[in-house]
Symmetry: none
Subunit: 208 residues, 4 copies
DNA sequence: AATGAATGAGGGTTCATTCAT
DNA sequence: AATGAATGAACCCTCATTCAT
């Protein structure tokens, strides 16, 4: 019975994942999720307390993974930024080392967690992720030693840009290789933008 | 009486604007909008045919403004990009000329139009804006002469990134000066990123 | 002031007549009636207590006219039926004498009273008219002396058929001459049908 | 559970039938239908997609039955008309053969379909039925060889009269035998009227 | 007399959730 | 474990009527 239970449970999770991805949490219908999972509305509630619990179930590992990822890579050196400065192609190739981690963190479920969670307890996930990324970004900027005015807000904005790029890719492509390529492009773009921004402020300060 | 009517009408528009901004069109409740405006549900329909008409009313000027803006600046020269290449500070200062137009185009209502219009006749506004921006972007890249592989997709992605940055700023800040500063940062960042991306591809091609 | 009042009042009555004719009482909108009359919703209630009172006003003369007509012609001789028996053309020409009375009784307002009054105090007008006509019919049949089984029900049914024909004509034609011609055809048809019916029962009885 | 479902479903259909019969589709309230069926508004929508689907359910068999009936009897001979000409009693007795088909076609649901469907996809049912009957009627008249001026309009008017008679009977009587008797009377009346009308025109033409 | 804003009850419909079986 | 019927609150919208101006 436990086996059977797991089968249904997984089907519900998969159906939920699809539904949440397509419609977001609030517009997702429990009836439809149950239907797609090949079971019935009522039975849904034998497996999950409510729609939100299913969402939590779908997404919880991503949350953990993301947090581990970020805490783990917090102390990652800034040398990449410095080494490859002004050499986009080098930076671009260097990114290959991160393929695995990128692929494992930036998944469809990550997208759901961040972009489809309005109405759940994770409503603030995007802000949280942005904050994480922002702190990461601030760290690097500090390492580089540049003074950027209004650093916090700028960091938030850049983080948001970074994140939205990721979400855009995940929301519009499902093929793993395509996703990976696009994310690399995005990172290159983002990296170059940051370099430019930093230099921009350096030269501006020099100008004053 | 006419005065009173205008008061309520404006209150409804303001309440609608707030509601749409916070919840998006679909999740916005006419009852709540009416309540926030200090009147009753039924009375709402003495002022607006339906929820969508209120949305239209809130947003219609933005649509016009945006289209005028883009058609007006379509033929804008690429020289900025060329002149200020590698000189972020110059680019940054050059942006000051655009303060007024940026402030007048990228407003809270612009945000509502683009980011909160799901379920209205403006559902496609984001795609439309992205297409506009993408074409603009492609034009500049052509002027510069770089060959970027898969230009259309990349353009879409970048346009999306550009727009999402704007939307993020508008969605998280209301103070006009802050918005303006962040948008300028965003443009600088974006400009530098594009330069980097273009160079990246140039050098990568050179590598092959 | 009395003059002005009458003008608006009449416009409201005319607009109401049109609206009732087209949509029936219940689906008619007071707002629209007021609008068509060139005045405002609120002002409507300065002239009429409510929608129903307007209906009453539109229709009341018809009710009186109809009742007078029927009471006046109750004692009308059956000789027409007898004289013109089996001579449809004669009957047809004889009807010319009734042109005036037919035109004055079977009007658009008569139609409204009978066919558009659902939801008003006149809901039962159709039944009432049918009963009148039925009694008239029964009277003639009695004069002729035929025994028709289930006379009351049959009378009601025939009266209904008679009335529906009239209503069909009034509801689908507005040109006075056309209406008059069609009503004459209808009466001929109806007369012949009655003759046939009566004979049918005579012969059937004879058969038994 | 399936049984219970059927019970409620049938109750809803019966309540709907009654409600539609009494008030017509548009004035019928889903809330009231559900109430009469002993359940709640929300539950109604577990059985029917919307009010119109219930209407469709109530009425769909009638539509099919009617179309089959008319297509099946399209080629019915005119000999009845000819044989029994001038012999109402014969015609009357001949009708007995049709008792079954009349009873099965002209039902309460037929009434609902034709007379209570304003606002549904069946809005045009009355026109359709009239057209059917009119064509049938025209066919017979052609067989008889009479020239009736403005045949189409006259056919429409007569068909309408025929149908209204049927509808009147169905709308005012529920006892099956009464309905059947009245319909037979109606047919006799109608038949005799037609004969009279035809002769009327013949003699009138002869007069000219 | 005229205006139209305001109200409130009602319309159809959706949906997460509960519950009896 | 499974079913789907039942509930109730919420949704948008309409409209006759009242009322303050």
């Amino acid at each position: 019975m436990q086996i059977k239970k797991d089968i249904i449970r997984n089907k519900l999770k998969e159906a939920g994942e699809t539904e949440f991805f397509e419609k977001g949490f609030e517009r997702s219908s429990v009836r439809e999720i149950a239907g797609k999972a090949g079971t019935t509305l009522g039975n849904f509630y034998n497996y999950f307390k409510n729609k939100e619990e299913l969402f939590h179930e779908v997404v919880k590992n991503e949350v953990i993974k993301f947090e581990e990822f970020f805490h783990g890579h917090q102390e990652e050196p800034t040398e990449y930024l410095i080494q490859s400065e002004r050499e986009p192609a080098a930076f671009y190739r260097a990114l290959d080392e991160f393929n695995d981690v990128l692929t494992s963190v930036f998944t469809r479920k990550f997208y759901i967690w961040v972009a489809c969670s309005k109405g759940t307890q994770f409503s603030n996930s995007k802000d949280m992720v942005i904050r994480y990324i922002g702190e990461h970004f601030i760290g690097h900027v500090r390492d580089v030693g540049t003074m950027i005015p209004d650093l916090d807000n700028t960091a938030a904005m850049l983080s948001n840009g970074f994140l939205d790029g990721i979400l855009y890719i995940l929301g519009n492509h499902s093929d793993e290789k395509t996703v990976n390529d696009l994310i690399k492009n995005h990172l290159l773009f983002f990296f170059m933008g940051m370099i430019g921004l930093i230099e921009g402020f350096i030269s501006e300060v020099a100008h004053d």
